[in-house]
Symmetry: C2
Amino acid sequence: MKVYIIGIGLIGGSFAIDIKSAFKESEIFGIDQNNSHLQQALELGIIDHKAILEDINKAEVVIITIPVNSTLTILPRVLDLVPDDCLVIDAGSTKQKLCAKVNDHKKRRNYLAAHPIAGTEFSGPKAAIANLYRNKTNIICEVEKTAFKLQEKGLEIFSKLGMRIRYMDPASHDKHIAYVSHLSHISSFMLGKTVIEKEKNEKDIFDMAGSGFASTVRLAKSSPAMWTPIFEHNKENVLETLKEYISNLSWFQKLLEEDDFEKVYAEMEAANRIKSILNGIDR
Amino acid sequence: MKVYIIGIGLIGGSFAIDIKSAFKESEIFGIDQNNSHLQQALELGIIDHKAILEDINKAEVVIITIPVNSTLTILPRVLDLVPDDCLVIDAGSTKQKLCAKVNDHKKRRNYLAAHPIAGTEFSGPKAAIANLYRNKTNIICEVEKTAFKLQEKGLEIFSKLGMRIRYMDPASHDKHIAYVSHLSHISSFMLGKTVIEKEKNEKDIFDMAGSGFASTVRLAKSSPAMWTPIFEHNKENVLETLKEYISNLSWFQKLLEEDDFEKVYAEMEAANRIKSILNGIDR
C-alpha cells in the first residue's frame, strides 16, 4: 500500500509510524513544505521516501495533516491529482469549510472527512509517537459521500490503529468541538498570558506553580500555526463558547465581590460533575 | 516522634505516609471530625492511632491539614494546648490571615507557617499517596517568628520528604499564589460549567473530548470545601487575577470578531513562552 502523507509533523508522523507497523507491506511517502522536517522524518525512519505533490498520481492513500487553511487550499488539487481508486483522508479539527469546498468536486467520492481527536501540545516530526491514535475517537463526517470501497479502506486503517469511530455531520462537529476542544485552548492560552504578563519581572514566582497550573496551562504550548486557522474556520462557534465562558467567569467574579460564598461553593460542586463525565477521557 | 495530624485527607494522609517511612521511630496520631475518614485512615495503615484534639498536649509535632477557614479557628486553640517544645505546622493555601491571627499569640514561636505546593484533584484518606511532596516547593512564611530549634525540626521533616524550601512574606505569598494556582482553579471550574451547561442534553458529545480538554478541566474536580475558604481568604488577590483573565479573554474575543488573525497568532505565540517557564513543573 503506497501511502502519501502531506505534512510530516506530530499528526502525520504518528499516522506514518502506526500505518507502517500495522500494514507490513506499506510504503510511506512524505510530502512537506519544510525540507528540514522532511529530512528529519526520513532520518528518524518515520517515512520511507521523500516525495512531492505531483507524485500522488501513484498513491493508494493520501493523508493530509497540515493546518486547516492549507488543507482548504490543497484538498481540491489533491483530488484532481489522485488516481480514481485512491482514498484521500484529512485530519483537520474543523470540517464544515472543508466539506463545503469539495462538495461539488468530481472526485468528492475519493475523500473521507475525518477528525481524529488525538494529539499532544508538541509539534514537528520529532513529536510523532506510536499509538497516538489508540483508543481515541475519530469523527467521520458525511461518510455517505465517500465511495463504499474507500470507506472500507479508511475504516480498516482506523480500526488497525485502534480508533473508535463516530459519525457526525460537519455543522454538528464544528459546533460541539468548539466546546470540548477549541474553548479549552483559548482558556489555556489566555491563562498563560495573564500569568506571564503579571509575573514577567518575577521569575522566582514560577517556583510556586504546581502540577495544577501546569495541567491547566499545558495547551498554551500548542502551535499558533495550527490553531489560528482553526479559530478562523470555526469563528462563529468559537465566539459563542467564548462569550458563555466569559459570562460564567464574570458571574463567579460577582459572587466573590458580593461575598456570596454559599453560591461559590455550589458553583464548584456543580462543576464537580465533570468527574463522572471525564471517566474514560483521562489518560 | 509523636506526630498529630489534624485532618486525615489527601494532604494530611500523604504527610502521615511519608513521615512514617522517613522517621522509623515516629508514631502517627490522626484527628478528624469525620469519624469514617479516621477509621478508614486507621484501616489503611496511614495512622497508628485515632486521637482527639485534647490529646495534643502530648504532641511533639502537630500538622494541621484542614480547609483554611477551619485552620483559622483551630490554630490559636492548638497553640494553647501544645507543650512548649512542640512544633505546629499548617499546610494552608493562603497565609496572610493565618499569620495575622496568631501574630500576638504567646506561643507564636511554636508555629511554622507552610504551604507545600502539592496535591491532586482528589480528596479523603484514600487519596493519600507516598512521595506526594518529593521535589515539590514548600513556601515558608515569617520563618523568623518561629523558634530556632523548631525551625530546624520542621526543615528536617520537609527535607526528608524531599521538598524544596522557599521563604516568602505572607502578603507576597498570597498575591503570587493567586496567579499560579487560585486562578487556574477558577478557570477550570468555569470551563467545566460552560461545557456541562451547553452539552447537558447531549451526552454523546463528551466522546469528542480528548486529553487536552481533560487536562484543562482537571482542576474542576477539586473539593469545594477546600476551595471556597481559599477564595474567601484571598478574595482581593483572586479578584485582581480574575479580572485580568476576563479582560484577556475579552481581548481575544475582540480579535476574533474583527478577523484580526495576525494578532490572534501573535497572542498564542507569546503565550507559547510558557513552555520554557513550565520546564521543571510538569510531572
